[in-house]
């Protein structure tokens, strides 16, 4: 299991990312951005990817949708 956060710059992007990643079937949850991560938006997308293949879908799909983001692993 690979866990982490997708950090985005706007709340609109957070909700857009939530909708996109939910469609991919990845376990996700919108959460307040942890203090240790720098983010311009108060909300981030917490994710749990089953394996590397599922993890790879996250940046690939968000890039396709032209969403600016950063990923932090925990």
């Amino acid at each position: 299991m690979i866990k982490g956060y997708v950090l985005v710059f706007t709340t609109s992007s957070a909700f857009e990312s939530e909708a996109i990643l939910k469609d991919l079937g990845i376990t996700i949850k919108l959460v307040p951005t942890p203090r240790e991560f720098s983010s311009d938006c108060g909300i981030s997308v917490y994710f749990e990817a089953k394996d590397k293949a599922e993890l790879a879908q996250i940046p690939n799909t968000l890039k396709e949708q032209k969403i600016e983001f950063d990923i932090k692993y925990i």
Partner: protein, 391 residues
């Protein structure tokens, strides 16, 4: 005349009533169980509020054929959307083209900007049937920066030839602002964002949702940095900075949005999607046809006919009465709610020929108006008009 148990509402061009099924419940659900500000906090209620905001943006984008829903910029109403664009896009010395039948939502901000920015405002002639002169339009668009006009006229119901005007504007590289206050939700507009650069809309009219929500829609390919925001302030993003964010929608959406209104808008959009916009348009057109047929031939009653495509609105007059008398009789004696007068659109009345008279009786059926109600209205107007001068 039959007795009526509730008022017949024919003032849908001002605001639609009733609202779509589910709207009242969505507003109530938001106020009772969500309540939080969208995009301002990380707690569960704020997140739920933000989800509603995002979903509504997406639903609106789908309705008008926009790919990037962040280019839906929420405002208070269509007027504020128009002001945002005119005040943020026009620069000193620009040439703006409008038609001769624009609502004050376009005329007043343009007139206010005219002297401040030394604008040149050109008016495309329209005839008394509200037909736009396309040959003049072609000439007038030369060297212009913006074409701004209403899709459906709020007095006569006439629809502008959108495809033709769009082609003329594109050919001369003129940006196009469409005021969709009377058309969004009433007319199929899946292609509109490929025909215009900006669309102003209101939630409380064709979208059958509460008052206090509108939107300015910016086309997917329009360079957003060409427009300055009208309102600056807190956005819930980049809080450490004291300058406005550049990204969308935050650049144009400062302050807390009307979230219970937006929750209602989402419900309205869902209902409209289920019904199909074309079916709603067909219904409203059939009621207009019924009015035209039923009112034709009534002595002393004048119909302001239009040419070409239209929405459901129709203007009439009974010159032997004052307009306010007719409005009052229709309301008090028959329970029919209409708007008489100039409808915030003196230009429309000047081109129709009804300005000197002080306006018209505007009959604007909506998605929930029935054939029986229209029939009752036709009979009421016949009674009034044929009362042989006695009042």
């Amino acid at each position: 005349m039959q007795n009526i148990s509730k008022p017949i509402y024919l003032d849908n061009a001002a605001t639609t009533f009733p609202k779509a099924p589910g709207v009242k419940e969505a507003v109530s659900e938001f106020l009772e169980n969500i309540g939080a500000s969208a995009g301002r906090s990380g707690h569960s209620l704020s997140i739920e509020s933000g989800r509603i905001l995002f979903q509504t943006r997406k639903s609106l984008a789908d309705l008008v054929g926009l790919k990037n829903c962040k280019r839906i910029l929420f405002t208070l109403n269509a007027t504020m959307a128009i002001n945002t664009l005119l005040q943020g896009f026009l620069k000193e010395g620009d040439v703006v083209v409008v038609t001769q039948m624009e609502h004050n939502a376009i005329k007043r901000p343009l007139n206010a900007l005219k002297s401040r920015l030394k604008l040149e405002v050109r008016e495309i002639p329209c005839d008394s049937m509200h037909t736009v002169d396309l040959n003049s339009a072609k000439e007038m668009l030369k060297d212009a920066k913006l074409l701004a006009c209403a899709h459906i006229n709020n007095v006569s119901g006439a629809m502008i030839p959108l495809e033709d005007l769009s082609a003329l504007a594109k050919a001369q590289n003129v940006a196009f602002l469409l005021d969709g206050a009377q058309s969004v939700g009433c007319v199929e507009m899946k292609e509109v964002m490929s025909q215009v650069d900006f669309l102003a809309l209101s939630a409380h009219k064709g979208l059958l949702a509460p008052m206090g929500v509108g939107a300015l829609v910016i086309a997917d390919d329009f360079a957003i940095e060409r427009i300055e925001p009208l309102v600056f302030g807190g956005t819930g993003s980049l809080s450490e900075e004291e300058i406005q964010p550049l990204f969308l929608p935050d650049r144009f959406e400062s302050g807390t949005p009307n979230m219970h209104g937006i929750a209602g808008l989402q419900a309205g959009l869902e209902w409209i999607k289920k019904q199909g916009v074309e079916n709603i348009h067909r219904h409203e057109l059939s009621l207009r046809e019924q009015l035209l047929e039923g009112l034709s031939g009534i002595q002393n009653l004048k119909i302001y006919r239009t040419k070409g495509r239209s929405g459901g609105t129709l203007s009439v007059d009974i010159p032997s009465y004052t307009l306010s008398e007719i409005g009052e009789i229709l309301d008090n004696r028959y329970g029919i709610c209409v708007r008489v007068g100039l409808h915030c659109s003196p230009s429309s009345h000047k081109s129709l020929g009804s300005f000197e008279r002080g306006g018209t009786i505007r009959l604007s059926p909506g998605a929930f108006t029935t054939k029986e109600e229209i029939n009752f209205t036709i009979n009421a107007l016949r009674d009034i008009a044929e009362y042989k001068g006695q009042k």
